[in-house]
């Protein structure tokens, strides 16, 4: 394992401190743990709380700021934070209109957030949550854990964040978050694995000519392995799966070409070159495109493609002002 760190035990805390020190006017860290909140609490609006395991930087701390999150709770690398940590975060930003938690669909995240929300409710805090499950690599079935939450989560932060900033009530903010969730789909791949610092060994191994398709964001293996193909072919594989899941034809979309952490922008741009042509050929109109590292897996190399189907409300909220470290609009 080759990393620029000080010690395996201090990775999460030093990272959160480093983030907050880079944006001292915008962010602060709660003394009780790796919980990032806005430097100035905003009253009178629904507060948004997200979080999960660390290792997805800039998610989620980098999305705390005006027009996006009020709080991000960071667990150990790839491990959901505990209910008491999440509860501290909820408590710190709770407002009269209430708190909405944005949870990615992993058993650990869901269980810990549910327990935290129960604790918050016991203390009289109005709190609710949505579960993001945009990853079409995983079969969505009533009899399984269902699809994972991946890069599409950023768009839930953005759009629900804008709606909250407008002053909407808790049920309206929740409703628009669920609208995003219903309309966003993602699929990813990797050519190089990542290593959880505390573990020291990569989550999987790939030969020089292999790639993993249907990768998640926790260093776990994907749905299957193939020979590494040309970028266009790979992007097509992902897009086919996404377009097969819900109907995007004739609709406007936001696109995210998301790097997994160690993917050079060069490669993301090359992928985007193809994606834009492919979408045009399939009568999907691109409203806006984001290319970069938004939801990563430490130093995994690879990318995911996210499409969000837009309507007028979602466009308005997508375009609204945002001033978070990792997303400025």
């Amino acid at each position: 394992m080759k990393k620029i760190i000080n010690s395996v035990e201090k990775v999460e805390e030093q990272m959160i401190r480093g983030l907050v020190k880079a944006f001292p006017q915008q962010l602060k860290k709660l003394s009780c743990g790796n919980v990032v909140v806005r430097a100035t609490k905003k009253e009178g609006k629904v507060a948004l709380v997200s979080g999960g395991g660390s290792g997805h930087e800039p998610a989620h701390g980098g999305f705390v700021g005006e027009g996006m999150l009020d709080c991000a709770v960071a667990g150990p690398v790839f491990t959901s934070p505990t209910p008491d940590q999440i509860y501290e975060g909820i408590k710190a930003v709770a407002t009269e209109p209430g708190v909405l938690c944005i949870v990615k669909n992993y058993t650990g995240d869901v269980l810990n957030f549910e327990m935290a929300i129960d604790m918050a409710k016991d203390e009289g805090i109005k709190a609710d949550y949505v579960v993001v499950n945009d990853d079409v690599a995983v079969k969505d079935s009533l009899y399984t854990t269902g699809r994972r939450g991946v890069a599409g989560t950023i768009l839930v932060h953005k759009i629900a964040g804008a709606r909250a900033e407008e002053g909407a009530d808790l049920s309206s903010v929740k409703a628009v978050a669920e609208k995003v969730i219903a309309n966003v789909r993602t699929m990813g791949m990797a050519i190089k694995p990542c290593t959880v610092p505390a573990n020291g060994k990569p989550g999987f191994e790939l030969a020089e000519d292999e790639m993993e398709i249907g990768i998640g964001i926790h260093g776990e293996p994907g749905t299957h392995r193939e020979k590494l193909a040309q970028a266009n072919k790979v992007a097509e594989t992902l897009l086919e799966k996404i377009l097969a899941d819900i109907d995007y034809k004739g609709r406007e979309v936001t696109v995210i070409i998301n790097g997994m952490g160690a993917t050079p922008l060069m490669e993301l741009y090359i992928v985007n070159d193809f994606v834009q042509d492919y979408l045009a050929a399939h009568e999907v109109k691109v409203y806006n495109t984001m290319v970069g590292n938004y939801m990563t897996s430490i130093e995994m190399a690879g990318f995911s493609i996210t499409l969000l189907r837009l309507d007028d409300e979602l466009k308005r909220l997508y375009d609204a002002k945002a001033a978070a470290p990792a997303l400025v609009k």
């Binding site: 505990t82 269980l111 399984t144 505390a198 998640g216 749905t223």
Partner: protein
């Protein structure tokens, strides 16, 4: 008649903490194959905190209170899926043991059943989905039959261990439909479940320590 008082219980939890630390790499390796490679790390962090908490705790005769402390400590230090699951298990066990200065075989069974129900309730899973329940449920059944048949606690727990061993082996033969391993679909076949394995390890420590 063999019983379990809070002192012995604390000793058992210390033993579990050592065992989990010892098997940290092994559990993590199992989780690397079909999960995200943190199960051993998570549990080691949690039981380290449990051991520390128990060492600082004022003497407490109430077994229910010890179990509740363990559960709360796990919930607030393990994280991931196994944190709330094991945490809930011990908290539920604590609730049914509340006020008991010692657990006899019947008391132990009641606590164990409450724990397993807690895991089922929290995780919305059933046996056969390649989770810790595939070790815990057969163990609970074996415990029940053994105690009903008049075995003493130690014998009964050893029978539970045997059943859990079979359960762990069984997890190799099935596809995961809960937890992270479910993302792998058929590729989860052939691998044993890390959570079922950690459940077995804990049971074995209990049997050895009684």
């Amino acid at each position: 008649m063999m019983t379990l008082d809070s002192k012995k219980m604390i000793k058992i939890f210390n033993n579990i903490a050592s065992k989990v630390e010892e098997e940290k790499a092994f559990l993590t390796e199992l989780d690397t194959a079909i999960g995200d490679g943190d199960h051993g790390i998570n549990l080691a962090r949690g039981f380290h905190a449990v051991a520390e908490k128990l060492s600082q705790m004022e003497e407490d005769d109430d077994t229910g209170s010890v179990l509740k402390t363990v559960g709360m400590q796990l919930v607030s230090t393990v994280g991931g899926a196994s944190g709330p699951l094991y945490g809930t298990a011990f908290m539920k066990a604590g609730a049914v043991s509340k006020g008991k200065r010692e657990l006899d075989a019947v008391g132990f069974l009641a606590a164990f059943e409450a724990a397993v129900d807690g895991v089922k309730m929290r995780g919305k899973a059933v046996p056969g989905e390649k989770t810790m329940l595939d070790a815990l449920c057969p163990a609970c059944d074996a415990l029940k039959i053994s105690i009903a048949g008049g075995d003493d606690l130690k014998t009964a727990v050893w029978k539970a261990v045997e059943a859990a061993e079979k359960g762990v082996a069984f997890t190799k033969t099935i596809i995961a439909t809960k937890g992270r391993a479910s993302y792998l679909g058929e590729r989860s076949l052939g691998h044993q479940d890390p959570g079922a394995t950690s459940s077995l390890l804990m049971l074995r420590v209990i049997a050895e320590s009684l």
